[in-house]
Symmetry: C2
Subunit: 221 residues, 2 copies
């Protein structure tokens, strides 16, 4: 069975990712690919990736943060290969994300981030960024597992339909299940699985911890 | 002679950019390449680009906005080909741009943007973003020609040494020379030159307008 887990891959080896995808296929919900791999190889070379696990969601984590005509061209290029593309809400709507109306079902919008530096910058705007996301009406949003109060706020302001993806589990310190209990749909884990000696074993361990945490928080409510 | 102009190229044709670079070489200070081209081809394929005008600055406008280990891997990949890489200040320092200490001479940091949507988001943080830039100590920063007061503030807070690159001239509405008069070192022009029937003629026209504006604002002070 598949856990509510998305694998974050920020390295540049195509072979390693392809092997990883075959190994974890059916056990995780998707694979989130970072800019380093895309820049190293170009999107054409990434086409065969999806066939290594076609039932998973393939997400391009480009975190595009530019004006409308650039962000549109970026997203269009990536959707030739990926199912979803991640963009930043912090560039705003008018003259930026408004250019993506036709592909809103393929978008995931970052409304807050997990690292300390974000608290002095991006995360101070979280309410404004949630309003940007409300206008974009994307398939999903990204809110950090390290800040469950922001996941809760996101669910409260954006409603039940949008998917919430939460990074920060593992290397960045959040416990598996924390974000799910706060209202997220998926938790994103990178290095704790990608660099594990036995990635499938790491997935199962983290996945079971997720399910156990959800059982506990549901019975507490 | 070379005008204080940087060409922004956000299309995906390598041939068109290569031709453009040969044609404008010696007349402009550099070429700023957007994400669509990099994603389409991958950085290896961009290697021969520089030889189409080796005396120009080649700037990768990836606008990276991610946590430290991803932004580092992104910048490292791009510096194999480009002279400078553009990153966003809006992700903050700790856990993000602090990962780039060793390459600060190759960085250009976005502290504000030119489109209307930025005023409801990113630009509200401009003082915090200038403080992030102050910690990074990059070669250059990006501040919009459409908002000369932000260019002035940038020069005032960051001092004389940092290069200021100003987009927004041409298609986005700022007049050539406006940002230079406010303290910028270079103005960035994209579509008004890239899509011109005669790009070199467009460069000369915009370049002469720059020089004339600078003459006027210098004699007024």
């Amino acid at each position: 069975m598949s856990y509510p887990l998305i694998i974050a891959y920020d390295e540049t080896s195509l072979d390693k990712l392809s092997e990883l995808a075959k190994m974890l296929c059916g056990h995780v919900a998707g694979f989130k690919v970072g800019l380093p791999l895309m820049l190293e190889h170009g999107v054409k070379k990434l086409r065969e990736l999806k066939s290594s696990c076609s039932k998973a969601l393939w997400i391009a984590d480009v975190k595009a943060a530019d004006i409308a005509h650039v962000v549109s061209a970026t997203v269009t290029t990536l959707l030739r290969v990926f199912d979803k593309v991640i963009v930043h809400a912090v560039v705003g709507y008018v003259g930026a994300l408004e250019g993506l109306k036709d592909v809103r079902e393929n978008l995931v919008v970052v409304v807050a981030m997990s690292h300390p530096g974000a608290d002095e910058t991006l995360n101070r705007l979280v309410v404004a960024l949630l309003k940007v996301a409300e206008r974009v009406k994307p398939w999903g949003v990204v809110a950090p597992a390290t800040k469950p109060e922001l996941v809760r706020l996101t669910r409260q302001l954006l409603g039940q339909e949008v998917k919430i993806l939460s990074p920060g589990v593992g290397a960045q310190g959040a416990r598996p299940g924390t974000a799910l209990c706060a209202g997220a749909d998926f938790e994103i884990v990178g290095r704790a699985i990608v660099n594990a000696v036995e990635p499938l074993k790491a997935v199962k361990k983290i996945g079971e911890e997720q399910l156990e945490a959800v059982r506990r928080c549901r019975s507490a409510n």
